[in-house]
């Protein structure tokens, strides 16, 4: 016999308001919005242009709301990201894009033009990507609004339905309790409430039986899912506003030199659209000393791996206060919301070129490590010489004297025995032609002399020209960035994770405890339950709940696993 036989009146058994309503709630298993009322039936309407348009719009809206559409859109976003993985992006690797366009790398000029045309070099700012994203969020919105409404209603009004046939539920356990029916029910109710179930009492049936119905999990699961999806808006808004207000700039600074945070102080300057010159903090950073070190033992594991990057700098604030600061890897200097990272370095030999006694060039050459040359390379362009003079510079940091007195080149990067190898060219530098400052276009130039210089040495370049390697310093590439969006992105990410966990793991389940008097004056207790998701997890929970109820109701301890229906077996 099921624990609570007998018919109560229609209302208490859940056919009245609660029942109709809860049928709606049941639909939430699929996260469809509960339908409060059947769709109104409409007669045929006259066909008008307005009608057609509005129908088309409604149709599209309906289609947009389905998860299938969202899935497809998500897929398109994925495809676009693949494109962006395979094709170099201008914002990441402009030089690679340039060489693809020039045809010196990549699939060739023709393909490159197609790629340019479809916006493949700037996927994330292309109209197609923006449109996909827009549609995706429209779809998301269309689907979330009804879910929100439904969730709000459920969390305020939902009560679990009573069950007419406790014995038919997936999980059923029965035992006898010495407590009276009312007391047993109240106790069971207490146990369920302690387990954080929402409970509802059934009425007393004519045969003296009654029950308490309980449910939990739905609000958390659905709420989690909603929070998860809402986090996308937080992320999106943060990303967009962030793009507008962010700032990023790069400055190359040689030891002993300084740069100032102004709109003209940077070599590479990339402010967001809403970031104006007045938003700069106006600090000055002087690079006093840059230290880099490596695993120097050639036999040690990881020989040559850098182990240390440290920059000692002097920070001068606009009000004139000066402080000594240190920038280390992963420990950027933070000034007034601006973060200063060291992103690169190289050797900067001070080169002086004289024509007779006239100095035609004197500057630090910022050299960059070139893997194919195993040297730091840079160029000198001296248009002041006559004819133009170009010098390719190869700095080998560790080239001790060999037996024959000449330098022995090693690949070691530490500057214990630096030597500057150079190759000079004379002719037309063609500075008006577009070319990068770090490339020397030697076409049409005459090869000059080649030689080695130790610091302090002067060598003739031919004619009246001489070249002097005055001293060796290091230069650093400093990135200054301001990212006001980061805390908001963190908030969005936190919401996302906090929502994801219940959306995936919380599960909705119902438990009923029916109590009925038997002839011996005991109370027969029937515990029944059913899970809507994660049946395995509920199996354990049900056993535990059964134990707790037995303990509370002075029933016999369960010695056998309760009967569980087959459906729970997965």
């Amino acid at each position: 016999a099921s624990g609570s036989g007998g018919a109560g009146d229609a209302r208490t058994w859940g056919v009245g308001f609660g029942g109709t309503y809860l049928r709606g709630v049941t639909q939430l298993e699929s996260f469809d919005p509960p339908r409060m009322n059947p769709e109104p039936v409409r007669g045929p309407r006259p066909v008008t242009v307005g009608g057609l348009v509005s129908r088309a719009v409604r149709d599209m809206w309906r289609r947009l709301r389905t998860m299938r559409t969202a899935l497809w859109l998500l897929g398109v976003v994925g495809l676009e990201s693949i494109l962006a993985t395979v094709v170099p992006q201008r914002m990441n690797v402009p030089s690679t894009v340039a060489s693809w366009e020039a045809g010196t790398a990549g699939p060739g000029v023709a393909v490159s033009q197609v790629l340019e045309f479809i916006g493949a070099y700037r996927v994330y700012t292309s109209p197609l990507f923006v449109a996909t994203l827009l549609l995706l969020f429209t779809s998301l919105t269309a689907c979330l609004l009804p879910r929100f409404r439904a969730w709000w209603r459920i969390s305020r009004h939902s009560v679990p339905p009573l069950s007419r046939h406790l014995g038919d539920q997936e999980h059923v356990a029965r035992f006898a309790s010495p407590l009276g029916v009312e007391e047993a029910r109240a106790t069971a109710r207490g146990v369920l409430t302690d387990h954080r179930y929402r409970v509802r009492d059934g009425a007393l049936a004519p045969d003296g039986s009654t029950q308490v119905a309980a449910e939990k999990g739905l609000i958390v699961r659905e709420g989690g899912s909603l929070m998860f999806h809402v986090s996308f808006y937080v992320l999106l808004v943060s990303i967009i506003l962030g793009q507008l207000t962010t700032f990023e700039g790069f400055a190359s600074v040689v030891e002993g030199q300084a740069f100032t945070d102004t709109s003209i102080g940077y070599g590479v300057y990339e402010p967001g659209r809403w970031f104006g010159p007045e938003d700069h903090a106006g600090f000055t950073i002087r690079m006093d000393d840059f230290t880099v070190d490596w695993v120097r033992d050639p036999l040690a594991p990881g020989a040559g791996t850098p182990t240390l990057f440290e920059s000692d700098v002097t920070l001068t604030l606009p009000d004139g206060t000066q402080t000594a600061e240190r920038i280390e890897n992963n420990h950027p200097l933070v000034v007034d919301g601006f973060k200063i990272h060291l992103l690169g370095w190289g050797y900067a030999p001070l080169v002086r070129i004289r024509d007779g006694s006239t100095v035609v060039y004197e500057d630090f050459v910022t050299t960059v490590f070139d893997e194919t040359e195993t040297a730091f390379t840079g160029v000198v362009k001296a248009p002041g010489a006559d004819p133009d003079l170009g010098v390719e510079v190869f700095l080998v940091p560790y080239a001790p004297e060999g037996e024959d007195g000449g330098p022995v080149f090693t690949g070691a990067p530490w500057a214990d025995a630096p030597v500057l190898a150079y190759q000079s060219w004379t002719g037309d530098l063609r500075l008006s032609a577009t070319q990068s400052v770090s490339d020397l276009d030697t076409e049409g130039m005459t090869e000059g002399s080649f030689g080695f210089l130790r610091p302090g040495q002067i060598f003739p370049l031919g004619g009246t020209m001489t070249m002097e390697f005055v001293e060796l310093r290091q230069w650093t590439n400093l990135q200054v960035s301001r990212r006001p969006q980061v805390p908001w992105l963190l908030l969005g990410s936190t919401l996302l994770l906090l929502g994801l966990l219940p959306a995936l793991y919380a599960y909705r389940r119902r438990v009923w405890v029916g109590v009925a008097p038997d002839e011996d004056g005991r109370t027969l207790v029937t515990v029944a339950g059913r899970a809507f998701q994660r049946p395995q997890a509920f199996e354990d929970e049900f056993l535990e709940l059964d134990q707790a109820l037995r303990a509370a109701l002075d029933g016999p301890p369960a010695d056998l696993p309760s009967q569980t229906a087959q459906g729970a077996r997965r």
Partner: protein, 408 residues
């Protein structure tokens, strides 16, 4: 012997041999793992084989952990600094996840042979990427990184475990569907009726679905009226038969083998090495054969499907967390939290793909097989993220003007 040599020795051959022999033992035991139809003798043989297999696996785990610890000591850092170490941890996660959850909690030891195959594949590929222990570049050395790479490795391991179930599900589901299509002869009214039940989505949410799917797929729980033994045997034979073709006079799952070999070949292009390609193709052929032979002994398709879903659902939040910490690390180290560089893009892509799988599972109308394919494709995206982007594409890119000697 140096610590580096010791760690290498512990890895290869010790760990690899232990895992391989355990894998073979598990596969041997699997043949006895289903309901022991013809008595206790077979069942206890299976039990003994499984005990040996389990012991060997634990020994393998021990050696594997020892290898990782020694390596960590040799390089004096968290052993997650290069692809070899990463693959190693992924494989360890797969094995321990299998032992603890699949065999321990879910009581599905018959899947362990395949779990170990998954781990061995990962380890085999990791040997191609072997690097001696070395210290880390300073830019890689932060707490965020530690959290990031640990969680990425962990979730990649769990996703790999899921991919094993995913592949097995597709295999078993194909067999079951084909047997169901052939039904009418020989499987009794119970099976036929269930087989003709409308295709139901593998949604955990509805118990009606669960019940109907379990009936459809699990002959051993069917209420077969007459002679359950022969029914069962016939069903098992049928499951195998429907997957094979007789080509060149040999019965073999040729199509499946060719399909997986093709995918394997595509994957092997990453190395651009004939030897690697050939071994991967041969491996895929062998694996198709093993899977084919094992099909009758696998759990029902719905069980495998649910296992896949639960494993992916478990890994997904961890991956999410890992991607977020990766962004935090990038912000701390490079002053930009997200730059859409290939690595970041493809981590995002993996996330999107698995999100697609989870959505597909939640939607009605998307049937189990489609979702399952989506799951496998998602794993493909993960592999792409991991191998192709690391080995091929990152060459194109450098972190925002960082020079190579800074070493990003």
């Amino acid at each position: 012997m140096t610590t580096a040599e010791l760690s290498k020795l512990l890895f290869s051959p010790v760990t690899l041999l232990l895992y391989t022999s355990a894998m073979l033992m598990y596969l041997y035991a699997m043949a006895f793992s289903t309901v022991a139809v013809d008595g206790d003798a077979r069942a206890s043989k299976g039990r003994r084989a499984r005990f040996v297999a389990t012991s060997l696996t634990w020994l393998g785990v021990l050696a594997h952990v020892a290898h990782i610890v020694v390596r960590a000591i040799a390089s004096d850092r968290l052993p997650l600094g290069n692809m070899f170490e990463f693959s190693s941890i992924i494989a360890l996660t797969v094995v321990i996840g299998g032992l603890v959850v699949i065999q321990g909690r879910m009581k599905r030891p018959e899947l362990m042979g395949f779990v170990l195959i998954g781990a061995l594949l990962t380890l085999g590929i990791s040997l191609l990427l072997y690097a001696n222990p070395a210290p880390l570049q300073p830019i890689l050395d932060t707490w965020w990184r530690a959290i990031h790479v640990t969680t990425i490795a962990l979730s990649a391991g769990i996703f790999s475990l899921a991919a094993v179930f995913n592949a097995l599900h597709l295999l078993r589901d194909t067999a079951e569907t084909r047997v169901a299509a052939l039904a009418g002869d020989g499987f009794g009214p119970g099976t036929v009726g269930a087989a003709q039940a409308p295709p139901s989505e593998p949604d955990e949410d509805t118990d009606a679905t669960v019940a109907s799917m379990d009936t459809r797929v699990e002959p051993d729980v069917l209420d077969l009226a007459d002679d359950p033994e022969s029914h069962e045997a016939a069903y098992r034979t049928a499951l195998r038969d429907v997957l094979a073709e007789r080509w060149f006079g040999i019965r073999y799952p040729w199509r499946i083998a060719l399909g997986s070999a093709f995918v394997g070949l595509l994957f092997s292009l990453i190395w651009w090495d004939a030897g690697v390609s050939a071994s991967i193709v041969v491996t895929m052929f062998v694996l198709a054969g093993v899977g084919w032979a094992a099909v009758p002994f696998l759990p029902g398709a719905s069980t495998l499907d649910s296992l896949t879903y639960r494993t992916i659902a478990f890994a997904f939040p961890i991956w999410t967390f890992a991607v977020i910490t990766g962004a935090m690390w990038a912000e701390q180290s490079w002053g930009r939290f997200w730059g859409w560089d290939p690595k970041e893009t493809s981590a995002f892509l993996t996330w999107v793909a698995y999100a697609g799988y989870l959505h597909a599972r939640a939607t009605r109308g998307m049937n189990g097989r489609k979702a399952s394919w989506l799951g496998l494709i998602s794993y493909g995206v993960l592999l792409f993220t991991y191998y192709a982007v690391n080995l091929l594409i990152s060459g194109l890119h450098s972190y925002g003007g960082i020079s190579q000697t800074v070493g990003a």
